[in-house]
Symmetry: C2
Subunit: 311 residues, 2 copies
């Protein structure tokens, strides 16, 4: 056993755990769907211990957690840190789970308490900490796509402010619950960024300064009138929503045309990268999973967990 | 029995029937939730005949229907009439239900086949026909709020073009299915147009040229950080969505500041009237139910149904 600590990303719908050595390198990993939504309030400890046991982790291995486990409805509340907040200070504010046999810490989320733009995040702050070297000096604009996309302004390693777009959730509920489900229902789950319908719709949203209100129902109408198929309909919806998000964020954040840091993996990363290309914006893409793991390692280091554990 | 014909508005989720005399005045009415969604394909005739029988209508009373009953998935398809289309021609295109003992006609919907802005409507064309005197000369812009809000440009009694916003459906799925349900879930169903949260949010959307993408999640965050209650949260969502629709429609339709015809009843009419006031737009409001009934009477007259029936 060479692990020094365990790193856990415990979100709304997923649980990911990595065992890491003293250098922060991963020695083992597991994933499950035991997110906060499916975990009973008193089952957090049992779920975590079960995974640790199956990975052969010693009883005294410390654990660093980020994500919704720290919400009020989660395991132990790790109260929001108010922005502006230095990335190092956020990690320093990790809260210890009381009455646990081993040392378990949860990284706090961030709150923007401005009355005119209230916002919160949990989990993305750890991704930001994981790319702290990129954000250490100067002003940066970071785009973190997902169910709830976060756009973050940083200055010299400090989170200055942020804002949430419901893009991923919009795609999900519009394609499954709205009138558009009749047009999209049977589409494949993954959209190809090279799909012409995605690109066309994305450009339409960008050219319209993000105003897609009068275009969404057109997906249904195009199915009825012009035979638009489910795959193109899904690509069209995705293009409209992502293009609208990028245009809308462009109104909110003045980045003077600087390179945007895109924190995203897989297919969604490809879609946003293509959308930024269509918007004429240069990006610097980093892997989202790599970022959260690096942030957890950074947090573990901060709390003295990166020492060899005697098992 | 003084009825000359029956008028039916058969929508997605509701069924309304009126018996009318030779002059088009209502002598009896019934309503039910037997909309197209809950009616089995082979049950349309039985549902209609049951209502007619309970109202004491004679077997040979003719019936004029509008709405989703004329959709492909409805009772009998009344194929879309393409715009531009004169209101009188739309009514003239009513399709007869074959194999029915009595004369039953269904008013066709409208299709906008432009590849860059495909759109369809069913039911609203009959409301437009019901206010044909208002639309007879000059150019008018008509706003018809609902689950799917329709904005229609007319010129000299002809429907020139139209566009749909999903405002009502957005409100429903965001307040019931999205993360915002945690903030809005227990709110009263009806929002008061005098609610300050409605007005503030509406102005915010209007001032932001309809861009509300970065503001919706703020409803959830304001609940977590500032104690925003369910009633204010619902009012805020409604204000953002309606303000966004009005701003977005303002980009699409050049009405040169002319008076907008608002076809709406009840609480939703009050909300839109207030939103137009905040937007500095003059309106001329007409009752939506009165409009659809008047349109059905006009259609019945067109097809020779406004003659006394011998029972």
């Amino acid at each position: 056993m060479t692990a020094a600590f365990a790193a856990v990303d415990w979100g709304t719908s997923s649980f990911r755990i990595w065992l890491c050595d003293e250098a922060g390198s991963v020695t083992a990993e597991r994933r499950s769907g035991e997110g906060m939504l499916s975990a009973e309030p008193d089952k957090f400890s049992a779920i975590l211990e079960q995974h640790l046991a199956e990975m052969g982790a010693p009883n005294n291995l410390p654990v660093m957690i980020c994500g919704m486990a720290g919400a009020r409805q989660g395991w132990i509340e790790a109260p929001y840190v108010a922005v502006p907040a230095a990335l190092a200070d956020i990690l320093a504010g990790a809260v210890r789970v009381p009455d646990a046999a081993r040392k378990i810490l949860i990284v706090p989320g961030l709150a923007q308490r401005r009355a005119d733009a209230p916002d919160v995040m949990r989990g993305e702050e750890t991704q930001l900490a994981g790319i702290s070297s990129l954000l250490a000096s100067g002003s940066r604009l970071v785009c973190m796509p997902g169910t709830h996309s976060k756009w973050v302004e940083t200055k010299d390693g400090t989170v200055a402010g942020f804002r949430t777009w419901l893009t991923g959730e919009f795609f999900s509920i519009l394609s499954k619950q709205s009138i558009l489900r009749h047009s999209i229902g049977t589409a494949p789950a993954v959209i190809d960024a090279r799909n012409a319908a995605f690109k066309d719709a994305c450009e339409q949203a960008l050219n319209g300064h993000g105003d897609i209100g009068g275009a969404l129902f057109g997906i249904r109408a195009a199915g009825l009138l012009h035979g638009l198929g489910p795959e193109a309909a899904a690509a069209r919806l995705s293009g409209l929503l992502i293009g609208s998000e990028i245009a809308s964020a462009g109104h909110r954040f003045d980045n003077s045309g600087g390179r945007i840091v895109l924190v995203a993996s897989g297919a969604i990363g490809d879609l946003y990268a293509e959308a930024f290309r269509l918007a004429g914006r240069a990006i610097e893409q980093v892997d989202a999973e790599g970022a959260v793991r690096a942030g957890l390692v950074e947090a573990a280091r901060h709390h003295g967990m990166t020492k060899k554990v005697q098992s």
